[in-house]
Amino acid sequence: MQIFLYILKRILQSIPLLIIVSIISFFIIRLSPVDPLAELKLNPSVSKETLQKETERLGLDKPIIVQYGKWAKSFVQGDLGVTSNGEQVSVKLKERIPNTLLLAVIVIFLTWVVGVPLGVAAALKWKSPLDRVLTVLTSIGMAIPSFFFAVLLLIFAVKTGWFPIGGLTSSNFAEMTFGRKILDLAHHLVLPVTVLFTISLAGLQRQMRANLLDVLDSDYVKFAKAKGLSEFKVVYKHALRNAINPMITLLGFEFAGLLSGAALTEYVFQYPGLGRLILEAVLRSDINLVMASLMMGAIMLILGNLIADILLIITDPRIRVKGGAS
C-alpha cells in the first residue's frame, strides 16, 4: 500500500516537472526566427483549410504566452497537430516510440546480463590481468563516437552482406509468418543494438566494479570474512546485494543516456525510432513534431527514473522505511 502511495506521489511530482519542460522547450523553439508553418505552406498537398486550422490552433497571430496556453490545452486534450507533411503527429509518434523502446529495452537487458557479471569479476580479481584487460576494453568502448562506430558497422554490413543496411523491417515484412517476422526484426536489430550495447556496457561494468570494490572494503564484509564465512557466501549473499542497489538508480540515467545516444545511431542506421524522428523534424524545422517528440522524450525519461525508483524500493528495504516515514 505504501508503495502505491509513494508511486502516486512521484507521479504527481512529475507533473510540474513536465510543465516546466514544456515551457522551456516551447520558448526555445519559438525563439527561432523560422516560421513554424513555412514548410506546411510550401507543401501543395496541404489544403488552405488545414493551414487556417493550424494557425488558429497555434494562435500564431497572438502573443507567445497565449500561444503556449493554446498549445498546452490541445496537448492535454491529446491533439498534437499535424506534421509538415500533413500527417497526424500522434500517429507518427505511436509508430516510432515502440521502436525506440524496443531498442532501449533490449540494450539495457543485454548490458545488465553482461555488464554486471563482468563488473563483479573485475572487482573480485582487482588489479589482476583480467581486470586490466577489462579496463582497457571499457576505455575503448567509452571512447568510440557512437555515430562513427555505427558508420563502421554499416561498412561491415555492406562489405559482407551479412546484415541488412538500415531500417527495421524488410520490404516484404507484411507477407511473412509470425516466426519469420521475429527473425527479420532481430536481424535488423543486431547492428544498432551492437553500437548502443558497446557504449553503455563500458559505463555499467565500471560502475559495478567500483560499487563492489567499495562494498568489499566495508567493515561488515571484513567482519563476515573474519567470522569465517566462505568467500562465495560473503560476496554473493552480503556484498553483491548492497553493491547492486546504486546500480538500479543508475538504470534511470542509463535510460536517459540511451534515448540521447540512440538518436545518432538511429539516424545512421535509418532506424525508425523517436530519435531519428526528432532529428528529421529539427532539420525540417517541423515545430509540432519537434515539440511533441521532446515532450515524449521527457515523459519517457521521467518514467524511466520512476521505474528505477520503484525497483529500488523493492530491492532495498532501507528506502522502504525512509520513504514511508517522509
Partner: protein, 355 residues
C-alpha cells in the same frame, strides 16, 4: 597540488602515453598552419576525391631517389560508369622541406609562406586523399582539430561557473528558493540531452560568421550540461554549510554571496577538477555528433565531426575510406582524455577507486 597530480600522471603507464599523445596532437594543432601543406580553404576541383598520394623513394630504374610523388589523373570510365584515378607518371613532383607554398598567417598574425613539407606548385600532395571539393584531408584534419579539441574545454569554462554558482546559491539559501531552483534544474535534466542539444542548435540563425557560430555552439554545449553539475554541487554545499567555518564567516557579517563564493565553493575544488577532466571527452563527442548532423560547425570551416558528414553516404566511404580518418582521431583523443581523467580521479579522490 598541481605538480603532484602531474607527477602521478607521469608514473602511470597508460596516463603517460595518453599525455604524450595529447601533447603531440595539441602541438600539431598549434602549428597547424605550418605543418599542413595546404591552407584550410585550398581546393582544387579537378582533384575531387583523389586517393592519398603515393610517395616513392625508389625511382623507375630501381635506384634510391629523393622522395617524390605523382599526381592523379581523373578519368571517366564510360563502360563501368565510374570515375577512375590513375597515376600520371609523366611528371615527378619532388617533396620539399621548408619550402614556399600557399601563403597563410601563422596563428592568424604573422604572414608566412613556408610549410614543413610541400611539393612544387602544380604537384598535389594529399597525404590522406581529398574530399568532394578537392581539399586536402590531412590539412583539414589539423585545422578541424583546432575546433574539435578546444570547443569542449571552452564549454566547460562556461558551464562550471554557472553550475557552481547555481548549485551554491540553491544549496546555501535552501527553503523555497532551493525548491524552485532545483525543480528548474531537474526539468532541464528531464529533456534527453541530445534532443535539447539539437533543438538549441537548430534555433541558431543561418548566416552567422564562423566565429559567432563557434561561440554559440560553446554556449549551447554549456547550456545542456550545467544542470546535472549544479545538482551535485548543491549536495556538497548542503553537507558543508553548517560547519563551523561557515558559521564563523556568518557571524563576522560576511554577505551571503561572499560566503558561498569564498568559503563554500572552494570546498568542492577537487570534485570540480575530477568532474571537469572526466567531462571533456563527452563535450568533444557532443560537438562532433552535432557537426556530423550538420547542426554544429558549418562548411567551409572544418571540424572532425563535420568532416565525417561525408561518411554518411556509405557508397562514399566504401570506395574512399580515407574520409573516415577524423573518426579515428576523435577516438584517440577521447580515449586519451578518459585515461588521464581516470588517473586524476584516482589521485585526487583515492577513496573512489575507478568509478
Amino acid at each position: 597540488m598541481f605538480r603532484d597530480v602531474l607527477q602521478q600522471l607521469w608514473k602511470d603507464k597508460f596516463a603517460r602515453v595518453a599525455l604524450i599523445v595529447l601533447g603531440i596532437i595539441y602541438f600539431a594543432l598549434f602549428f597547424a598552419d605550418f605543418i599542413a601543406p595546404y591552407t584550410k580553404d585550398f581546393s582544387d576541383r579537378t582533384m575531387a576525391y583523389v586517393p592519398p598520394s603515393k610517395i616513392f623513394v625508389i625511382d623507375e630504374n630501381g635506384k634510391l631517389s629523393k622522395p617524390y610523388t605523382y599526381n592523379y589523373r581523373r578519368d571517366f570510365d564510360g563502360e563501368n560508369l565510374k570515375i577512375v584515378y590513375t597515376l600520371d607518371r609523366s611528371q615527378k613532383h619532388y617533396l620539399k622541406l621548408f619550402a614556399q607554398g600557399e601563403p597563410y598567417k601563422f596563428l592568424g598574425l604573422i604572414p608566412m609562406k613556408r610549410h614543413l613539407f610541400t611539393t612544387d606548385s602544380d604537384g598535389r600532395l594529399f597525404l590522406l586523399g581529398a574530399d568532394i571539393n578537392g581539399r586536402d584531408v590531412f590539412s583539414r584534419l589539423l585545422f578541424g582539430g583546432r575546433i574539435s579539441m578546444t570547443i569542449g574545454f571552452l564549454a566547460l569554462f562556461v558551464l562550471f561557473p554557472i553550475g557552481l554558482l547555481y548549485g551554491g546559491i540553491s544549496g546555501y539559501l535552501g527553503g523555497k528558493v532551493d525548491a524552485v531552483m532545483m525543480r528548474f534544474a531537474e526539468a532541464v535534466m528531464s529533456i534527453p540531452s541530445f534532443y535539447l542539444l539539437i533543438i538549441l542548435a537548430s534555433v541558431l540563425p543561418s548566416g552567422m560568421t564562423s566565429i559567432q557560430r563557434f561561440i554559440l555552439i560553446v554556449i549551447i554545449l554549456a547550456l545542456v550540461g550545467w544542470a546535472g553539475f549544479a545538482r551535485v554541487v548543491r549536495g556538497m554545499v548542503l553537507s558543508v554549510k553548517n560547519q563551523e567555518f561557515v558559521q564563523a564567516a556568518r557571524s563576522i557579517g560576511q554577505s551571503k554571496l561572499g560566503i558561498i563564493i569564498k568559503h563554500i565553493l572552494p570546498q568542492t575544488t577537487s570534485f570540480v577538477i575530477v568532474a571537469m577532466t572526466l567531462s571533456v571527452p563527452s563535450y568533444i563527442l557532443s560537438e562532433s555528433g552535432l557537426s556530423f548532423l550538420g547542426l554544429g560547425i558549418q562548411q567551409p570551416d572544418a571540424s572532425w565531426g563535420n568532416m565525417l558528414k561525408e561518411a554518411q553516404e556509405f557508397t562514399n566511404i566504401i570506395s574512399r575510406p580515407w574520409l573516415l580518418t577524423p573518426g579515428f582521431l576523435i577516438f584517440i583523443a577521447v580515449l586519451a582524455f578518459n585515461l588521464i581523467g581516470d588517473t586524476i580521479r584516482d589521485v585526487l579522490d583515492p577513496k573512489n577507486k575507478v568509478r
